[in-house]
Symmetry: C2
Subunit: 371 residues, 2 copies
């Protein structure tokens, strides 16, 4: 599988060129509304003093870093604002590789393709650990696969594409493996607001000098195009080079991140009711129920999501290849992602994103197609 | 000189910690107003359909790329939206080094520190060509210094820190040298709206497969913190790998750039009168006159800017070291940048940014200090 160019656009283009109506379950872009506060925050910023239109500090607006740090119970100096979770993961993986011993990256299969693409851009060899049948990564399997050559381990919980949520014990064990091998554990928590299990706990609770946590407001505030993310680095007293090298790379790559969305997110953080997040979770829980009920009817295997907004499913005799994805678009009018875009372990599965109000239509179309 | 962390913040911090009033002539942040249209564009976007808050294409909004391409007489496919000119230069330098033969980067001294820092991050050896006494880079000197090992040449016109504007002939010669050595000429034109000589012409007019032009709206619209820039790559029919590798790197680093400022810039491009740019140029021309008149009185050498908004000056017996910059802050109440932050060629000079309405106060203070 070629990861250098993630394949989402390829499928989206095929779907939008189709001659029939297609339910788009490809992208990770929410179809629900952002909170009104994010609009207000941006509109207020548009009237700010002109000096507020100029370079913010390279690591992000002080007040936004302060707000995030206060909410997470951290020191502000550990928080760096990034261009979405994408740049946060990029900095953590790149500087983890440069700072920790070893030269290999350990990823879970199925994998979020950007992690694999980035490893390839960094010319790092990758070791894959297949998720178990329930969709979790087994720390014992990671322990077997990890070695002195392991420099970075990346996990994502709640997980894309599998929808599982790792508990604290699992993350603590993975951090321990990173510590044993002088490696960095990168925990991407961008779906933290989409946990239906009640089991999610941030890896920040682990308090290890070998853990970086990455996150963004892209999904929680339904603003994937605004690019406000952050990385939380270990205490620089324990891992000073990692933070300082990431700051330098960020500065020399992007100078700083865009200020208007930072100001709007800062406003929204203090002006969004918890019911906004609850409502979104409720909506997604309903979609999960609808969709998995239909999968039962179609005789599919699936991992029922306890977090995130993706469902992986396998249909008997119809593996999740690009070819079959195209057939599903043309003949059923439903667009998903091919499992093979996420690695070998679930190459014969499909991934469906529940980011459409037409889950019901998709359900009926899939049932009819597989009947 | 250590370029990995540009020194602007160091001087700004010293100045803001000073116990006296200081005229800040350090940063490149405009103190004049952005056009009203950029505020309107952002406020309108804040009310857009929620689907417009999601991921734009990785290379930027189609309509913005189209608008830039139309204004520059280009095909849209050559234009990539970047996180300011910073990321545009980063992509051009990084992929130039990877795509063209050789492994060395050629820079002009005095140098914009980010170019040098980036070369260091890329572990590329740097060859410096000193600007001549008038502040220009002599193509013959570049020809002497360039070799088969040269992979990337970076120029900046109108120039920061020297304020010179290179004419078309000089750029054509530099592009020719790049062509001879299978190297890439990166032309950073972020100050293109600040040309007082009437001589500026974009390197796009050169039509060479060995030229990338970088730019941004940071200075022209007085929004350095918004991070909307772009790179124009050679026709992919002639240099396909360069564009495609830069796209991949951009995607794996940033996924895409922030959408709100892209939408606002798109609006502003069609709703800003030419008089806005003329007014800004007039303001800066007046500041240049004021400031250089004072430099004459102080007996300083200087390069009178024909573009940009910086003045380099040398005071007899008072070289532009960090130490003297601090003395000037403490004793004269004027903060500039030390020449040594820009390399060896003008290490004993200072750089002053004309981004303050208090140029007159600065003038009086400098005159008094040097009397």
């Amino acid at each position: 599988m070629e990861y250098e160019t993630p394949q989402f656009f390829r499928v989206m283009q095929y779907a939008s060129a189709a001659e029939r109506d297609v339910v788009d379950m490809v992208s990770g872009s929410p179809d629900w509304d952002p909170p009104e506060s994010i609009r207000t925050g941006l509109a207020e910023y548009a009237q700010a003093n002109a000096s507020e239109f100029q370079y913010p500090p390279s690591v992000g607006l002080d007040a936004l870093r302060e707000e995030i740090a206060a909410r997470r119970g951290l020191q502000r100096k550990r928080v760096m604002i990034t261009n979405g979770a994408g740049e946060a993961n990029h900095l953590a993986m790149t500087e983890g590789l440069a700072t920790f011993s070893g030269s290999r990256i350990l990823l879970v299969d199925p994998v979020y393709p950007y992690y694999a693409g980035r490893a390839s851009m960094l010319a790092a060899e990758v070791d894959y650990v297949a998720a178990d049948d329930a969709g979790y990564v087994d720390p014992e399997a990671v322990r077997e696969r990890a070695s002195e050559a392991t420099s970075v381990i990346v996990i994502n919980s709640p997980n894309n594409p599998l929808g599982v949520t790792y508990g604290r014990k699992r993350k603590r064990e993975l951090a321990g493996i990173a510590e044993e091998h002088d490696a960095l554990l990168v925990c991407d928590e961008v779906y933290d607001h989409f946990d239906y299990s009640g089991r999610f706990e941030s890896a920040l609770a682990i308090d290890s000098p070998n853990v970086v946590v990455t996150n963004a407001f892209s999904k929680s505030l339904a603003i994937t195009g605004w690019r406000v993310g952050y990385a939380v680095f270990p205490d620089p007293a324990e891992q000073g080079d990692l933070l300082s090298n990431a700051r330098t790379r960020h500065m020399l790559t992007n100078v700083t991140c865009s200020r208007p969305p930072q100001a709007a997110v800062l406003y929204a953080l203090s002006n969004t009711s918890p019911t906004y997040y609850e409502r979104t979770r409720k909506l997604l829980r309903e979609r999960i129920e609808q969709f998995t009920t239909a999968l039962d009817r179609a005789g599919a295997d699936y991992t029922k999501p306890e977090g995130g907004f993706y469902v992986m499913a396998r249909f008997p005799g119809f593996p999740g290849t690009f070819e079959n994805v195209e057939q599903l678009i043309d003949e059923a009018g439903v667009a998903g992602m091919p499992g093979e875009a996420f690695g070998d372990a679930r190459a014969d599965w499909f991934r469906f994103a529940l980011v459409t109000s037409r889950v019901e239509a998709a359900v009926e179309r899939l049932a009819a197609f597989f009947e």
